[in-house]
């Protein structure tokens, strides 16, 4: 569903990406690994429309991809989930899932008001369809009262509800405790069965080996390794990350 061909990107004198190519199938989970400064964030920012590549090309669902803004990419079904930037803490679950696209209903035939009943009902349904457990009593509470993993799950549900086809996650488990990390990995597994394509950046080899189908290793802006997760080992990945 996604094809990146020969992409390079400079920032001043820094060559953040150097002739990077990669691809992703629907329902496939790709882990992006590499040391700090390897170019992982730059690569996902190019896919999600934050940066334009200097050279090279992108194709998405067999069409050339020229997203000039994150909003444009999102409208095409490419959704990026950043830690902590995704949710308004003071709003409840439904308000967050529907933020910017609230369902409306008529008020006495005079004006339109937000249909909170419907937001609640549909939020419950999308959470249920992804096996995300959030107690009924918390659904109408500000999401700041929820755990990091639940909030991450809500951000993901929001993307799925709005028809994301390609989900990009920058360190989705970094801020979470171990049980919570497991939940997010389960969620990634669930998304795979729904034919969503997933790219996730991680520093955690356990996560990478538990959740991904394939791994792409960057070093100083170049692809230095790519393999099916079943055909590589932790030792090999580590050595590629540090010495190419």
């Amino acid at each position: 569903m996604l094809e990146v061909k020969g992409v390079s990107k400079h920032f001043g004198g820094v060559k953040a990406l150097n002739n990077v190519s990669m691809n992703l199938q629907a329902g496939e989970v790709l882990a992006l690994a590499g040391d700090n400064g390897a170019g992982k964030s730059t690569l996902i920012k190019i896919i999600s429309g934050v940066h334009a590549p200097d050279t090279g090309s992108l194709a998405y669902q067999d069409q050339p991809l020229h997203a000039n803004s994150p909003l444009q990419a999102r409208n095409l079904g490419i959704e990026t989930i950043y830690q902590d930037l995704a949710l308004a803490d003071n709003l409840d679950v439904g308000a967050n899932i529907f933020l910017g696209r609230e369902p409306m209903k008529s008020f006495l035939g005079m004006t339109q008001i937000i249909d909170r009943q419907r937001m609640l009902k549909e939020s419950r349904e999308v959470l249920h369809s992804l096996d995300i457990e959030i107690p009924e009593s918390s659904l109408e509470q500000p999401v700041r009262n929820l755990s990091g993993g639940q909030r991450q799950a809500i951000a993901i549900s929001r993307a799925i509800y709005w028809n994301a086809k390609l989900l990009i996650m920058d360190e989705p488990t970094a801020a979470l405790g171990v049980p919570e990390q497991r939940k997010v990995l389960e969620l990634i597994d669930k998304l795979r069965t729904q034919k969503i394509g997933i790219i996730f950046i991680s520093h955690n080899l356990n996560d990478i080996f538990a959740a991904s189908d394939r791994i792409l290793i960057l070093r100083q802006g170049r692809v230095v390794g790519e393999s099916k997760i079943s055909e590589t080992s932790r030792e090999k990945v580590v050595s590629q990350m540090v010495s190419g």
């Binding site: 803490d89 308000a95 500000p142």
Partner: protein, 326 residues
């Protein structure tokens, strides 16, 4: 969850304790009732009307994470503009003069609001600084328009509006304020506009990413704030049949205190119109109560100042608790 309950109960506790305090004082010192007295209730409500109107406007701004310090002098500016226009139309039919005066004033008072919004949303000036500048500008303009004096208006309809009570019971400024309260509550709690106001205050980045036009929204919020200041100016002029540039000067403190007593957070993202209503009542009870029990009026400023500090301290400790001590 408990915290949210405390947040919504605490303004009521404040209101209750102030009421009891002055009731006991009045009973002990003067053997009379403070609360069970129609005149007192009418006076408290009338006292509360202007700071409440200002408070409603600034509630929107504060929920979105901003502040508007210019409202007091925007109110005075509106009052003198209204008085000047209406009295200059003295030869016209009073209703026509009044109508033109109201429309023109509301349009003119939007200008400082638009400039505030543009400074903050467009030029990224911190709200505290941008609206502090506008505080000075509106103050200067008010005195310039009024030529340094109080501008009298001789309009019989306006006089009626400012003084009569409906059914001999409800002063018209109180009625207008009540209607506006209901509309503002509706907008904030039921519409997308209200929802986005909370979202921007909760996480501006998330609001942007959700496709909300944060710039335009911020501009509108400061215009709303100025609009409420304009309305307060109109009501002031009706009550006193005169406009004065310093009409709203003491009300900045009162109105912002009302918002914070009402449970809004200094950090944005929370607050309710009915909270601000209770806050304005608390302030009015303190002020009228001190007069009623015959304390020197200067103590009012001190009392309201302390109340603001207490309200912000409570907000801070609530925020600290809800962040798990971080």
């Amino acid at each position: 969850m408990k915290l949210d309950v405390i947040r919504s109960i605490w303004p009521w506790l404040f209101l209750l304790s102030m009421s009891v305090f002055f009731e006991v004082w009045a009973q002990l010192a003067y053997d009379t009732s403070f609360l069970f007295n129609l005149f007192n209730i009418q006076s408290i409500l009338t006292f509360a009307a202007a700071p409440l109107l200002l408070g409603i406007g600034v509630t929107f701004v504060i929920i979105a994470g901003g502040i508007d310090l210019s409202i007091g002098f925007a109110m005075g500016f509106a009052a003198v503009v209204f008085a000047t226009i209406t009295s200059s139309l003295g030869g016209q039919d009073p209703l026509v003069a009044l109508f033109i005066g109201v429309i023109a004033t509301m349009l003119i008072v939007m200008v400082p609001g638009m400039i505030n919004g543009w400074l903050i949303a467009g030029l990224h000036i911190p709200p505290f600084i941008g609206t502090l500048g506008m505080y000075g500008v509106a103050r200067g303009l008010g005195f310039i328009v009024a030529d340094g004096v109080t501008v009298p208006v001789n309009n019989p309809i306006l006089f009626q509006l400012g003084t009569i009570k409906i059914f001999g019971l409800i002063p018209i400024p109180v009625l207008i304020t009540a209607i506006v309260v209901l509309i503002a509550h509706f907008v904030l709690s039921q519409t997308r506009f209200g929802q986005y106001t909370y979202a921007i205050g909760g996480n501006r980045e998330a609001a942007l990413r959700a496709g909300i036009n944060v710039k335009r929204h911020t501009l509108l919020l400061y215009m709303i704030s100025a609009g409420f200041a304009g309305l307060a100016g109109l009501i002031y002029t009706a009550r006193f049949s005169a406009g004065a540039a310093q009409a709203g000067e003491p009300l900045l403190l009162d109105s912002i205190a009302a918002v914070f007593i009402g449970g809004a957070s200094f950090f944005g993202g929370s607050g309710r119109i009915f909270g601000t209503v209770i806050g304005a009542l608390v302030i009015a009870i303190i002020q009228f109560g001190l007069v009623f029990v015959d304390v020197e009026p200067f103590w009012q400023f001190l009392a309201v100042g302390i109340v603001i500090i207490v309200a912000v301290l409570v907000d801070q400790s609530r925020t600290r608790i809800s962040n798990g001590g971080k």
